[in-house]
Symmetry: C2
Amino acid sequence: MRNINEDTITQAVLASMDGCGDKRLRTIMTSLVEHLHSFAREVKLTEDEWFQAIKFLTEVGHITDDKRQEFILLSDTLGLSMLVTAQSNTKPAGCTESTVFGPFFVEGAPEYDNGEDISNGAKGEPCFVQGQVRGNDGEPIPGAMIDVWQSDENGFYDVQVPAKSADLHEHRARGKLRSGADGRFHFRSILAQPYPIPHDGPVGRMLEALGRHPWRPAHLHFMIQAPGFETLITHVFRNGDRYLDSDAVFGVRSTLIADWVRHKAGTAPDGTRIAVPFYTLDFDFVLNPAGAAR
Amino acid sequence: MRNINEDTITQAVLASMDGCGDKRLRTIMTSLVEHLHSFAREVKLTEDEWFQAIKFLTEVGHITDDKRQEFILLSDTLGLSMLVTAQSNTKPAGCTESTVFGPFFVEGAPEYDNGEDISNGAKGEPCFVQGQVRGNDGEPIPGAMIDVWQSDENGFYDVQVPAKSADLHEHRARGKLRSGADGRFHFRSILAQPYPIPHDGPVGRMLEALGRHPWRPAHLHFMIQAPGFETLITHVFRNGDRYLDSDAVFGVRSTLIADWVRHKAGTAPDGTRIAVPFYTLDFDFVLNPAGAAR
């Protein structure tokens, strides 16, 4: 340890963890240090570049607060989030695939009955969503808890809209439903639209420097929980969206793309008369039994 | 890009940078993404572990301010800082080696004449330092600007001591000197002591979890600048220190270890009478000509 140079430094850092009592932590940190050092050697990182990285991470830290998580955004845009999601959720064929959780889930969304309008005043074209929750053998799953959340026609989630005092606890275009005895669910909401991830901070500047755009294709978020099954966290993506091939957070999986069907003004699936065009989406979810072989 | 999984994600992220106009940035980010993904695959990082990492980095960001740089501390303790320093400062044999800059340098330290006491009230046993600044051919370098900074007997730098209003701009145990016509310099200060890096934050908790201590062996910091030569940023370490083999930031190089010689109370090198024991340190610095082959 007295003869540190660019060749011996890695072994010195690894040896410093000899006293670590947490085997998993040591495995993780060993791999992290090896790859961090290999990266710095491979590109021959300069002192100036290192200092730019320190400043960048400092800015990511300072813009992060209880409403904005720029580190998750950084992980998402570097594909790390999707990689961890994918390798943590390998499933048998036939099960609905998982994708990234994203930063816009909120605990304690309002509960709705099937058929209700979850938009709660969020602006957008009407959209009627229905489907079934099933197990991998085709059996309906009754009573599954279905969390759904989405952005409005301007591409904002309710938590991104500057809060007026009256709106402070207003949940819009998000809610919880339960599947019925036949595993089916249906609700009214608004049409999902593509939107840019928050790009007025350091991650936005990084994307710009890399020649990348910040857009995500239109999607609905779902989290579905049922006893005896693995929790499913996923999106349904809107077929035809121009950003399906360049999602800023790499969340698209082809099995999660579905058609939103456009209808002329008339009678909606719930029997009401709609004076403007509306959309319908039909999508089923197949859950993996808990403890199933991966 | 519609078929993202744990195998295809890396190629998708790399392809997203096709429009990047900055060749060096693209090289760096390509290597970073490859190593980041390889790390996550190699340890099969779980979603819980990923979230713990997000929380850790958020804490590192939130404790960082204009007086404390926890990201530099993180880089230092993972050996990245020393690696970048070492690979950026390869020099011909005979030149003084570089080591990490550290977070405690301050612009605008007071200037002193040779022979003056730079401690300026910082507590510690008296220490008299002298040496010569030379080029690699042995020629003295006159007029070199020598920045020196160090901690006090309690292990604190002046910037770490809680500021009282009167002390706010008080620089202690740091200063600037110039080498004389013969390249020589000498000054009085206090004995350097080992000290722990700031360990009351997330990096301190990381070290504890890894079974590592936060201590650095006693050292003086030097930055030496002279026209026609590369700037030298280095330390001189105190021989015999118990932490020489386990420096928390991996900065020790054997050529930078020197003897601090203890003397009984009596006549100091500057001719004054000292009523307590004192120390002397003699260390020469050899600068690398600017633009020299590496």
